[in-house]
């Protein structure tokens, strides 16, 4: 694969077996990366097909059944197979031990097991396409999911198994962060990405089992008819929604927290500035993790839950917005008086600020109960969560992918093409989803295969936007894959970053570091440290380079 001259993790061992049975977190991370990108491609194709059908009202390309299966698959694949493992299991697996100065994660075998569990879960989920695709939506609401004749069981079993993969990653990361930090790296000298992964792992560990038991019960309900979710059997479908959202709301933060971690890294690195309010950002990650467990009922304002419940959940919901807001302000303040450069990762950072702000503000709107009553299950919600999930998480993921790409492969991608792809994605995204805010507030319900003529113009623009997005991702796929084979050799520290993963070679050697690294400076000490051409320059050594105020 790589033709680098020195020994590194990519070429140290050869043959397919050395990959399939590897215990190296970097190789496992790469296998995950390959898997999640495949899922992203699949989910993306489903999305394009959905948008294609919605170009005009009425039946154009698919039947209603096919359409319902498409949006279910789009949701399930994107959420369970792509976005949840994307940053922690793929990128996180690769960078976490490097950032901590460790040789590996705490439990390498568990790490490999989690990958294969993911694969098994994915096969289950994809089998459901062959076995008569599910048409329940990724939320599996009862009693629809217990009565429909499609293959709900294989999909829910898939999600159940994927849950274990997610739990094992979380267990692994928690133990790693607690026990494997390099000498000198105290909790408040860790990179903020590590804090974000820590908070993410807490949610994974605490919330996923509840989804597990819920899906298991759904399977039992379908097979044996135990009757706890089925109103005809004396059960309660609203209870299912509580159980489901107890996981699935925190899951939103499993997705976005690591994205925020990436943004914290990027904004400091590309502003060459000490991160502003380090502790506040770290605590806000934990705060989000905690509060995210207390707000799930805001998905259920119209579900028939008690009014008291709606009040409590609406109240708590607003408090989850505050730590996110704090982070935004801190990133902004980090840019102040920085020395900003605009490589692709920084462009993604700016795009993140723009898109996530919109996602956040519309989240506040939806948190107010009376507005949510109108907006619930309309395209407004669809647009809102795409702005947070795609505009937030996916954009941050892409930023991180470009940022660590040279470290992963030892190759640079084509910066010009990266900027072109970024522009396509940024504009295409807004065209696709900003229109949907208006569709939603005008009353267009989600999961509609057919719609009234009055909504046609906006649907049309939205579909055009999705094509732009598709073109952007195609360009990206081209230059990234090209760079693996033909890209120019990357320096060890192309961005001049100070955290530990940049102190080893690109790509890293098999056990990450020649000697156990010891923390000498904090990850964001850009006021006294500078890296030029892989060389660390200390302020105390360079008297003539006093900080020039720009």
């Amino acid at each position: 694969m790589s033709v680098a001259t020195t020994a590194n993790y990519l070429n140290a061992e050869k043959g397919i077996k050395s990959w399939l049975f590897t215990l190296d977190h970097k190789r496992i991370g790469l296998m995950y990366l390959f898997a999640v990108m495949t899922s992203f491609f699949l989910g993306g194709v489903f999305a394009l097909l959905i948008r294609l059908e919605l170009l005009h009202p009425g039946q154009d390309f698919f039947t209603a059944d096919t359409y319902n299966q498409l949006f279910t698959l789009h949701g399930a694949v994107m959420i369970f197979l792509f976005i949840i493992p994307a940053i922690p299991a793929a990128l996180g697996n690769f960078v976490l031990p490097l950032m901590l100065g460790a040789k590996d994660v705490a439990f390498p075998r568990l790490n490999l097991a989690s990958f294969y569990i993911y694969v098994v879960g994915a096969l289950f989920a994809l089998y459901s396409i062959v076995a008569g695709a599910v048409d329940t939506g990724w939320t599996f609401y009862t009693p629809y999911s217990t009565t429909t004749s499609t293959s709900v069981i294989s999909m829910t079993m898939g999600a159940f198994i994927l849950g274990f993969s997610s739990i094992f990653t979380g267990v692994n990361f928690i133990a790693t962060i607690h026990k494997m930090r390099a000498p000198g790296m105290t909790w408040f000298k860790m990179p903020l990405m590590v804090w974000a992964l820590y908070a993410t792992s807490i949610i994974q560990v605490l919330a996923t089992p509840v989804l597990g038991i819920t899906l298991l019960l759904l399977v039992i309900e379908r097979t044996v008819g135990i009757g706890i979710f089925d109103p005809a059997m004396g059960g309660d479908p609203v209870l299912f929604q509580h159980f489901f959202w107890f996981y699935s709301h925190p899951a939103v933060y499993i997705m976005v927290l690591p994205g925020m971690g990436i943004i914290s890294e990027l904004v400091a690195t590309f502003s060459k500035k000490k991160i502003f309010g380090y502790k506040l950002i770290a605590y806000s990650s934990l705060g989000i993790a905690l509060i995210s467990f207390l707000v799930w009922g805001h998905h259920m304002f119209t579900s028939g839950q008690s009014e008291f419940s709606s009040m409590v959940f609406s109240f708590l919901t607003f408090f989850v917005g505050i730590p996110s807001g704090i982070k935004m302000f801190n990133w902004l303040a980090t840019m102040y008086k920085g020395r900003i450069t605009f490589e692709a990762p920084m462009l993604y950072t700016i795009a993140f600020m723009f898109l996530f702000a919109i996602g956040g503000f519309t989240g506040i709107m939806l948190g107010a109960i009376s507005i949510d009553i109108h907006m619930h299950d309309t395209y407004f919600v669809v647009a809102h969560f795409h702005y947070t999930m795609m505009g937030g998480t996916v954009i941050a993921f892409l930023g991180g992918l470009h940022y660590w790409w040279p470290k992963i492969w030892g190759r640079m991608y084509n910066e010009k093409l990266a900027k072109v792809a970024w522009a396509f994605i940024f504009v295409g995204f807004n065209v696709t989803f900003f229109t949907q805010f208006f569709l939603g507030s005008q009353g267009m319900p989600r999961r509609y295969y057919n719609y009234l003529d009055q909504y046609q113009p906006l649907h049309m623009y939205s579909t055009y936007g999705s094509w732009m997005l598709g073109v952007g991702f195609l360009i990206m796929a081209y230059y990234l894959i090209y760079s693996i084979y033909k890209g120019p050799k990357a320096p060890n520290n192309p961005w001049g970053a100070l955290s530990m993963e940049w102190q080893t070679t690109s790509p890293p050697i098999q056990h990450n570091f020649e000697d156990q690294p010891v923390l000498e400076h904090e990850p964001y000490d850009y006021d006294t440290r500078m890296v030029v051409n892989d060389e660390l320059i200390k302020k105390e050594d360079v008297k003539e380079k006093e900080d020039i105020n720009v």
Binding site: K274, G277, I322, F361, I369, P445, Y526, D547
Partner: protein, 313 residues
Amino acid sequence: MDPNGSLIFPSQVSTIAPEVDALFDFILYLSIIFFILVVGGTFYFAWKYRKKGEDTFTKDLSHNNMLEVLWTVIPTILVFIIFVWGFKSYMKMTIPPDTSMEIKVTGQKWFWTFNYAEGATTTNELVVPVNQPVRLLMSSNDVIHSFYVPNFRTKMDVLPNRYTQLWFEATETGEYNLFCTEYCGKGHSEMIGKVKVLARADYDAWLAGAGNAGANMKPEEFGAKLYKDKACFTCHSIDGSPLVGPSFKGIFGRTEKMTDGSEITADENYIRESILEPQAKVVQGFQPIMPTYQGVLKDEEIDALIAYFKTLK
């Protein structure tokens, strides 16, 4: 979009709508201010502090307690205001006034049925008087549906084996869209009805006539009307193409193979049974998912439908 509405919302037709929109506008303006502050700030800083010339060390600005407290406290106060405001209007839209009239709503795959206290029954068309609080007592016969009228800004899930309620007071006459917003399967996007808001006198006249709607029509015409009104078309075409159920084209006198292997010729008895007990005999190749119309259709209505089917050659 709605010609009477704004860019964002469809026109306001209930007493609660202006309140919802006002809160929305409040948050919208706040959001625009903060958006300019944060995202505008991002662009401004990005341009102002872009790298000019050589690499340098940057300033050690790592925290500022005053600022950090400010941008924690101010948003907290603002969201608290939003919560109280939102909750107050929510309480208003939750508790129906004592003067409300009551209509029973049943959702099922994939149409709405409305039962009036006066005995009238309509399908997919809710007729209400203007300036009159109306309380809907809702339940579902199969899966969860959701009752949503964008112009009223109200929505409530309709659950099987549970009652939920929703109330509104329409402020302008006209016809408004009624959507199902909880995904309920194949016909979900066809589960669209109308809310007809009438002036009081028109409403009373309609109510008086609603009981004997087919009185002065030929049976086959009445049947054709019922085919439309009762939303049979969601599942049964009249052009021969199979949808969820078999087509009605040429149904009368047609011999079909059933799921149990027997063959049945569709006559009056069979059609009648299929409407009242749809699961008794199901045509091969179709799912046994049709709901019963027991209590929804009256005898003379079934007869009218049969008369209509006879015309579909």
